[in-house]
Symmetry: C2
Subunit: 276 residues, 2 copies
């Protein structure tokens, strides 16, 4: 990698191609190499994917291992360590909401016996914070710690609808991604959908890939009335009808919101407009 063919001045002793990146960035880029498909990596793999010389990678990794951010397996490969997981569990938007929401997710799961999801928004995607699934539940595309698009999932639509206006515009302007299995909405329809989501507190989407499912999602508010998370249920298309699921999902989401300190201003009927 990074071999410059033409060296203008004959170097007295080797040249430094890509020096000049902060050490932390490099260390973090090593962590970023890990993914769902790459959970255990060798030194050379890490060096290759993070695009740095092996000695450099080794030195950085040694420090990460010493701290516990990475762990070394018997076969010499590296995996993400428990210490890092431990610190990460202090993430308010990660384990934070999860901790509060979990009992209500469990209730919903027990009653329905279908996938129950909790997600937060990170930039332009939804990050799955929790997923409860039976051993025999239908196939579902996303795993905890994974990311989902905002526009083509129920859980994402809720987060998008609750985002600040400026961010929404950015996303709305973007050309459709054409994800398979979900009919992509034109901008106008998407706008109307988002408005509906805000009004009713419910987003609903049908997908055919990886299996025919219906998702129903509802927003979770914090004490300031901002949408901090999205709670969703995914059932096989044709089983429980969405209009039956909606109240249960909405109720669970409201219960979580209340535990976060959210005070709904009116208790009767459907709110015509959410604050903010």
């Amino acid at each position: 990698m990074t071999v410059t063919p033409e060296t203008g001045t004959p170097p007295t002793r080797g040249k430094r191609p890509k020096q000049g990146e902060p050490v932390i960035d490099r260390a973090l880029s090593l962590l970023a190499v890990f993914s769902d498909r790459r959970r255990a990596l060798t030194l050379s793999e890490l060096a290759r994917y993070a695009d740095m010389p092996a000695p450099t990678a080794l030195r950085l990794i040694a420090r990460l291992v010493a701290w516990g951010a990475l762990e070394r397996l018997d076969d010499g490969r590296y995996v993400v360590g428990v210490r890092l997981w431990e610190v990460a569990s202090l993430s308010p938007r990660g384990h934070g909401v999860r901790e509060i929401a979990l009992p209500y997710l469990e209730d919903l799961f027990e009653v329905t016996r279908h996938h129950v999801l909790l997600a937060v928004r990170d930039n332009e995607q939804a990050v799955l914070i929790e997923r409860l699934s039976g051993k025999d539940a239908t196939e579902v595309a996303y795993r905890v710690g994974g990311r989902a698009p905002l526009r083509s999932t129920a859980i994402g639509l809720v987060l998008l609808a609750g985002a600040d206006q400026q961010f929404q515009e950015t996303i709305l302007k973007r050309p459709p991604e054409n994800e398979p299995g979900v009919p992509e909405m034109p901008e106008g329809q998407l706008r109307r959908t988002l408005s509906d989501v805000r009004r009713t507190g419910i987003a609903m989407i049908r997908r055919t890939v990886p299996s025919r499912t219906v998702s129903v999602a509802s927003p979770v508010f914090d004490a300031q009335g901002a949408v901090v998370a999205s709670l969703s249920i995914v059932v096989p298309d044709g089983s429980t009808p969405p209009n039956v699921l909606a109240p249960a999902v909405r109720a669970a989401a409201r219960a979580v919101s209340r535990n976060l300190g959210y005070q709904a201003e009116a208790s009767a009927g459907v709110r015509t407009h959410s604050p903010g």
Copy 2:
């Protein structure tokens, strides 16, 4: 570290007290400042607790925020970020076992309606990987991401009993910690207990603090037959008797083990000795 006490030449311009620590270590020490009680911190707090000048802390933090390891709140404080949580979710001993174990934990939870815990060992402590609790469950000392001692908890005893011999000796030699609420065992009794745990696949402990509870734990094995996790249930003392709980806990732990690729060599009766 590495502070030379005698500086021969009087420094021309200010001294650098603690210069010389690798950047990564400093960055990681910033992360380590966060704890259960300190989830949102200001720059000066971070700098103070991590023992470094504010400008240095700010520079490092800026990089961590850029990557997503930390997030900045509206009030200027910093919290652990979702991006870090996301990478950490790839930790095999963190979310890895959790993901496989969760359905079985749920079953156990539903049947008993009491705390169900999952933990792995990190060095000399147990790290809580998962905890299922009803909204109305009894008070329990440990939270997910938190740590528990090995010798005075059921979940810890299982992990200790399954650790390599050398490590066990290290711990056994250590003087008792005298945790309140649990009778501390002398070395001999502890040895016998660990042996029993290995033989029966069950550890049991009564505590009186923070409330009167009984914990029953059982080991989770991986494909190599090593104890990788510990599964436990905590019930109020006097409710369901431990000997009723034990089979359920053992069964759940075995189910998880099987999903990890563990093959019990004999299916009849109680194994007299675990492999290793």
